[in-house]
Point group: C2
Chain length 108, copies 2
Amino acid sequence: MDALGDPTRRAIFELLTREEHAVGELATQFPISRPAVSQHLRVLVDAGLLTVRRDGARRLYAADPAGIALLKASVERFWRDALVAFKDVAEHPPAQQSPAEQPPEEEA
Amino acid sequence: MDALGDPTRRAIFELLTREEHAVGELATQFPISRPAVSQHLRVLVDAGLLTVRRDGARRLYAADPAGIALLKASVERFWRDALVAFKDVAEHPPAQQSPAEQPPEEEA
DNA sequence: ACTTACCGTAAGTGAAGACTCACCAAGCAG
DNA sequence: CTGCTTGGTGAGTCTTCACTTACGGTAAGT
């Protein structure tokens, strides 16, 4: 989850969830150099969020379903553990219909 | 969402979702100084995740339901936008992988 | 009023990391 | 083989940020 902390890395990852891309392709779509893209990819691969496939001299990167599943699990664990007291509130956003906002009581 | 990037800040936030705390109380429960806690709280308040309440000379901080709802909305938006192609996979955990599970480790 | 407790802010330090350029390895075409 | 393309790695720079100490400002107790 720390791997998605960087905005550029999130954008790269998002692109790769749609279709696989080579490093050079990614580098042209971002205002950073190719080595920088490579380093971001390395982080994402180490985090288990990407898979690499070799196509001649090129490397095709794509999102890894397994890593994504783990990511979702960890996000939901955080949601369950950290936000127990706000589960109801988080379920129906107050900006939407029927804002039954009821701040839970906390005792000192 | 960037406000929860720091582990210490996540821990502080998690504590405040359970019950409100004064700055000094928080400082005793973490291996950092009181000003450091104050700075973390500032970030969380600026992010709209915390509310402040004055009690004499003390400041009681607590999680903000509205901010939490927005956070959850943004997380779910990311999930929907970025991971469309993996919705099914993310729904059920990766017990085992497809036959395409073969580590291409031919690098020298 | 003085004293003590609680807290925010300013200034400075140190580590983490995102980025660049330069170099080198691997694959394909001639 | 040479030449071109693709891409990973190392070294170095620079920015960001979490942290500290020092200080100022407000509230409650005496």
